[in-house]
Every structure is written in structure tokens, then in C-alpha cells.
């Protein structure tokens, strides 16, 4: 087994544990590269089937290509898709002009919380990775959230030998992180090996491309001429800029992501 084989095997093991343990299970699909890899892993884990719904928390500020890609892939992969928008907040005028962190909290965190409550999810699968940023580096694979989706990161249960947390009070839910142990380069190498189709925003047009995808107003492009996965891999080998450098909400203050995530952000 090579490095990617081992990563894949571990992720499949985690997905199967989640499916076995949680009656009400859903996977968050942000249309980005990481959660699209997870979609692929799920197809492998369940031999071509996707035995749980995929959830897209739509802020309505997403880049239009993402929505087109989402709808086409959902059909091709034959997956059940739940699209949810925090309409109440939008009607009240919520947007990035109200402050980036405020907007993220309302449209993404609260939107997600509404889905969890509405569908009574016990398990939510998310494509976060330890190498993305500090607070994610400290995550467990099965990470408990209380009924308000809050994360008590100072008091996490031990997690060892792939014996994950599957016991918790009713009303709480577990965030399952199947690709927590992957890094950005692993993701790209796996996309290249498995020939996974991605939204083409990742590939350069007129000398610019997206390295990380989010909402249009808060996501910046990087200078790049990479038009294939192989070229992106080559580009990443030579960069010293962080993956999420183009994500405005991270830069709001030194602890932006930690604060967001404590309240239930993905």
C-alpha cells in the first residue's frame, strides 16, 4: 500500500463507522475539492452507493459555477441532495457588509444548525483537514457538538486506536471528519490518481485561479497558470503561501477561525 492507499483506507473505515453508528447521518458538501473527494470516497466505501443525503448550506453568495456543478454532479452520482438557506437572515439583510464573521456565523453556522435541527441529524460528515488551520489541527475524528452545535474543545474525550466517540446524550450530534489526516497535497494527488471531476474554478483562466472555494465576496483568487491537476501539484510544491490565505474571514483577527468553530462553524 502506498501513502494514498493508506489515507483512502482510513477514510473509508471512518465513513463506514459513521454509517453503522448513526441512524440520521448526512454529509456536508461544499462543492469544493475536499468534500468532492469525500463524495468519491463514499462511493468507494459503499460500492457505488451513497446511503445518506448530501447537504449544501447555500449562502446565496456562492460563485455561480459552483451551483451549476453541484446540480450536475448530484444527478450524475445519483445522490440525495438537501439544499438549505438561512432565508430568515437573508430577509433581514444579512451579507458580508454586516461584518465577515457575523455573516459567516449567520449564513453558514446558523444555516447548518437549522439543518441539523430540522432533520434531527445525529452525525454530520465534514471534509475539514488538520493542516488547514490551527483549531482544525486539534479536532477529533468523531467530534461532539451540543444541541446548539457548540464545540467544547477544552474537554474532548480521548480518541485512540480508531475507537471513536459513538455514545452521547440525545440532542447532541457528532461531527465526523473522514479526511482530517489528509493534507492539501494529498487531496490533489488523489484527485489526479482517481481522475475525480472538479468544478473548473480551481483551474487558471487569464492567469488567475481559486485555491480554496467559498462565497464570492470573501474568496480571492491567486496568480496562477495551472490548468491541469498536475500543474496545480507542481505549483503547490513551490509555494509557501497558506491554502486559506485567500479566505477573508480567516484574516479578520488572530483567532477568527477558532471563534467561529467553537460556535459550530465547519
Amino acid at each position: 500500500m502506498d501513502h494514498l492507499d493508506r489515507l483512502e483506507a482510513q477514510s473509508i473505515f471512518i465513513l463506514r463507522e459513521a454509517y453503522k453508528k448513526f441512524g440520521k447521518l448526512g454529509m456536508l458538501w461544499s462543492i469544493g475539492k475536499d468534500s468532492t473527494v469525500m463524495l468519491w470516497l463514499a462511493k468507494k466505501a459503499f460500492f457505488g452507493h451513497c446511503p445518506f443525503p448530501f447537504i449544501h448550506v447555500d449562502t446565496t453568495h456562492k460563485i455561480p459555477e459552483m451551483i451549476a456543478f453541484r446540480d450536475r454532479m448530484a444527478k450524475e452520482y445519483n445522490i440525495e441532495l438537501i439544499v438549505h438557506t438561512n432565508q430568515e437572515a437573508l430577509d433581514a439583510g444579512m451579507g458580508p457588509d454586516k461584518g465577515r464573521l457575523v455573516c459567516c456565523k449567520a449564513l453558514k453556522t446558523d444555516g447548518l444548525q437549522q439543518v441539523v435541527t430540522k432533520y434531527e441529524f445525529e452525525g454530520l460528515i465534514l471534509g475539514i483537514r488538520r493542516d488547514e488551520e490551527g483549531s482544525r489541527s486539534k479536532e477529533r475524528v468523531f467530534s461532539e457538538r451540543n444541541k446548539d452545535s457548540e464545540w467544547d474543545y477544552t474537554n474532548q474525550a480521548p480518541e485512540l486506536w480508531d475507537q471513536f466517540k459513538t455514545d452521547f446524550p440525545k440532542g447532541n450530534h457528532i461531527r465526523v471528519h473522514p479526511i482530517l489526516h489528509w493534507n492539501e497535497m494529498d487531496i490533489w494527488a488523489y484527485i489526479e490518481r482517481e481522475k475525480i471531476e472538479l468544478v473548473d474554478l480551481y483551474f487558471a483562466k487569464n492567469g488567475k485561479r481559486y485555491r480554496s472555494l467559498g462565497c464570492a465576496p470573501c474568496t480571492g483568487q491567486i496568480d496562477s497558470n495551472a490548468v491541469t491537476v498536475a500543474q496545480i501539484i507542481e505549483e503547490l510544491k513551490n509555494t509557501k503561501v497558506g491554502e486559506r490565505a485567500g479566505r477573508a474571514q480567516d484574516q479578520e483577527d488572530s483567532y477568527a477561525m477558532q471563534k467561529l468553530r467553537k460556535d459550530g462553524y465547519m
Binding site: E17, K44, D131, G134, S137, K138
Partner: protein
Amino acid sequence: MDIDREVLNIVVVGHVDHGKSTVIGRLLYDTKSLPEGAIDRVKRIAKEKGKPFEYAYLLDAFEEEQKQGITIDTTQLQFRTDKRDYVIIDAPGHKEFLKNMISGAASAEAALLIIDANEGIQEQSKRHGYILSLLGIQKAYVLVNKMDLIQYSEEKFNAIKQEMNEFLTSLHVYPLKYIPVSAFHGENITASSDKMPWYKGEPVLKAIDLFEKDKGLEGKPLRFPIQDVYKFDSRRIIAGRIEAGTLRAGDEILISPSNKVTKVKSIEYWVEKDKVDQISAGMSVGITVEDEFFNQRGEFISHTYDAPITSDTFKVSLFWMGKNDLVKNKEYKLKLATQEVECEIYAINKVIDATTLENLENANQAKTNDVAEVTIKTKREICFDEFRNNQNTGRFVIVDGYDVCGGGIVTGLAQERQSASKFVKQDDEIVAKCFDEYYYVLTEGGIKKIEGVPHSFNIGDVIPSTGVTYEYPADFNVVDIKTGLTAIIRKSKLQDIISLKHLAYEQSPFIDSQGAFIKIYSEEDFNKFAADLEKLQQSESSRTAAFANQWFDFMKFRQIRYLTATKSLEIEYQI
């Protein structure tokens, strides 16, 4: 990072404030593994807090940490050397965070144990040593940090080395190296320090490249715990991860504990390129079988000729992390591989204070952070292996309420207790007296031998090449004079046991099973020794002394140390 490169997980442990985060910060900094902006960001935070920049801050992602100056949770970070990629796990030193330390260390293949040269060995240094032993992490280096505070003194370094070695050896943790460093000043991190010319070993970054990854799980007896059974379409797929061994389509398999035999019909896949006819340890797979019995999660698939142990009562060593004590006559949940079963503590055989190693006999409970030897009784029979035979199927966790509160390893079924250390390869055994220690006991006026803690060394196990009163090189051979069997030790690991007759001469030194150097300096000596030994084995035993005087030099790798009285050395526990 290149994708075909090897990855090694290393955990960094040690007492609080002994410099774990500084060591890691240094490694990241010196290997240029930090993204642009990270150092600036940390400098900015340090400035905001009115503190000078420290390498340790590179790791502290959480507000609370910087307030208290401690690492709350386990952090995983990556860096690379020319040889391979590393995932480094920073484990917290504070006692309250032992559960986080264990969560981090459980996924590690190798360990760096950090000790402050100025403070010496502290409570958590010992406790962490104990945990490494329970987690089965055999590859460990001890980094004696803050050498600048003791003026880079070789003498003090040796004193710490000796004290720690004594402690760790008693736990069957045999550090492969002791490295004197100053992480803050970068001494002996990337390059050999000119402040410590007396240290002849490698600096940290070169030393970690010498850790060898475990291999060979594929060759062990097959263990395939069923994770789930799927029926999404016409196929009835048994899914799970193979924990050890190799399985082929057509193999006859045994399903335990229900004890049913069938054959593998197919190995399933989704994309065509994943189609294989053989699957092995580490893979997450799916198979169909010829006879569609009722199979369920938790059952073990093995080959018919190499089944796991099936029992409802077994002995374990465990560490307890629960808020409530571990007690008898209470229902817990035990999770081992994919099995979940109610269990109770049938007997508490021993509770060990992991710091003093003091035994509390007749204890009725284990408290948080205690290590205990207990007998567990499960509500129904489950499958497992002894930890020493198979780590993946020999360890378990205990859930109390909603949380994992304990982790442990299965040590066996029977009450047998080993009396002497041995090198073991299948039916071949050599009684190893070479790890016994010799002291001149002042109160008794004579030399006394103290036997090491009995332990069986199997092929691949690390052996204690350095004791208090002996020091063997990393490569040597141990000859059993009675049988001629020879244990081959390479890089401080038992590599093989073969008969001296079948051994080709190499330059590494020979000792007898008592630890005496055998005066073989050349191939000619080797041949003569082999001939003499054969003669000796055929003749009267009265000739043995003459043989020994001719060939043995007992003191070459040994020394005799003074001791006031023997009582202080009695060690009365066993993992």
C-alpha cells in the same frame, strides 16, 4: 510533499515546561515547514501579548494555551527531511491532559521523550514513559533539553541518562538514543553542536531518519473484523478493515466466535482499477462469501488454521482516564476492534502509581491517571489476540457513560508468570542472562547479581542494549553455550535466532548468554571458537571453566557498581 514518500508519525511527550513545543517549533522552523505568514502571525500575537517571540508559540493555536503557556490538546503538524515526511504530534504535559496525550500518542509509531536537563526526571516524564510502554511504542529517543542551563555538561547528561534508562528499562521501553539538545538555541537539532563535542551521536533531525518503520503485518495470521454487512444491491457484501494478514479469493475462512466455515467468493470493488485478487493488512475491503450465514459486526474472519483467541475472561493492563474511579461490580462497555460488549472488572490484581511505580496491592479501585492490571469478564465471548502477538486486535477501550475512560492491552489468559528473560523464535529459545545487573553491595560485602525484569523478546523486538552496569553495541550476537543457538541483534533489535553452525562470520562482537565478551576478533577466531564449542558440547562439563577462561572476557561490556543495600532495587511489577 511527494506522494510516494514514506510518512512516519512521531509523538513528542514529556513533563510540562520541559520544552516539547519548543523542540517541535524548532524542527518546523529549521526544516522550513511553516507557511509564509505563520511566523509573522506568531510574532504579531507575541507582540500583542507583550512577550518575546518563542518557537513554542508556533504551535499554540488556541487562546487558552497562550494564556496559560501550555498545550491543551494534541496538535498534528507536518515537516519533511530528505528521507521522508513526518507527522509530528505534540502531546500535552499537564497531568489533567493525560487523555489528550494518550489520544496523540496512540497513533504514533515513534516517540521523542523530552527531559529538562536542569529539572531532571519529573512525574510526567515517568508517567509518559509508562504510557509509551502500554501503547507498545518501542521506537523512542530521549532528548535531554535545555543543556545550556547546565553548561552543556556531559557528566550531568550522563546522570540523567542513567536514571531514565533504569526507569524505562524496567518498563521494557528501551530508548534507542539519548540526545543532549538545546531546542531554544538550536544545539544538536539540525547539525552537531560544537558546544557538546563530547556527544558523538547524530543531531535530532538526522537521528529521526534512523527510525525504521514497522513492516510485516501482511505476513501475520489473518484478522478481519467485520465492520458491517451491506445489501445495497444483489450483492451481500461483508465490509471491514483487515487488521493483519492476507486474504485471497477462494480462501477457506473461519468466522469467530460463531465458529462457521465458508469460502471467499469474491473481493468487491467500485471502480475497475481497484479490482484485485488479494487483500491485506491496512486495507478497507468488502468480500462476498459462498455460504450466506447470518454475519454481524464484531465477528472475526480468520483462516481456519490460525484462529484468534475466543474467551470471556482475560487479563489486561490498562490506564484509566475517567473522572469516576474504575471499580468492580459495575457495568462498563468494552470496545475491541469492531466488537462492543458489556463487561465488568472481575478482579483488580494490581494498581500501579505510574510515577513512583509503587504497587498498591488489594486496591479496590483505579483512580484517574492510574495504571492497573485487572481481570475483565465480558457478558459474552469475544475474539482477540494477546497484544504481544497482534497489537491491533490485542488492545481495547473502556467506555463509562458517554466517554472513553480507559485503554488497555490484553496480556493473557492464564496465570503463568515468566521467571527469566528469553530470546524467542518459534520453538527456539535462549535464556538471556546478559541483561542482569551486577553490584558490589556494601552492606553485604560481596558481589550480587540482580536479574532484569523477565521478558520475552520476539523477532523484531527492541532489546535493552544499555543497562545500568552493562553497555552492548547496537549490533552483536548472543551465543547460548549449551545449545549453540545464537541470537542476532542488529540496531538493538532481535533480528534472528540461528545455530552458530549456520552462521556466516560478520564483524559484530559475540557475547555469551551471561553477557561475557567472546574473544573473537577475526574469521579465524570464529572458526576456532565454533570448533572448540562443538568439542565442549560433546565432552565432560568439567572442561567448561577452562573453555570460559580461554574465550571469555566478562568485563568488556560490563562494570560493577557499588550499592549500599540490595533492597532499593527490588522491582515487583510486570506489564
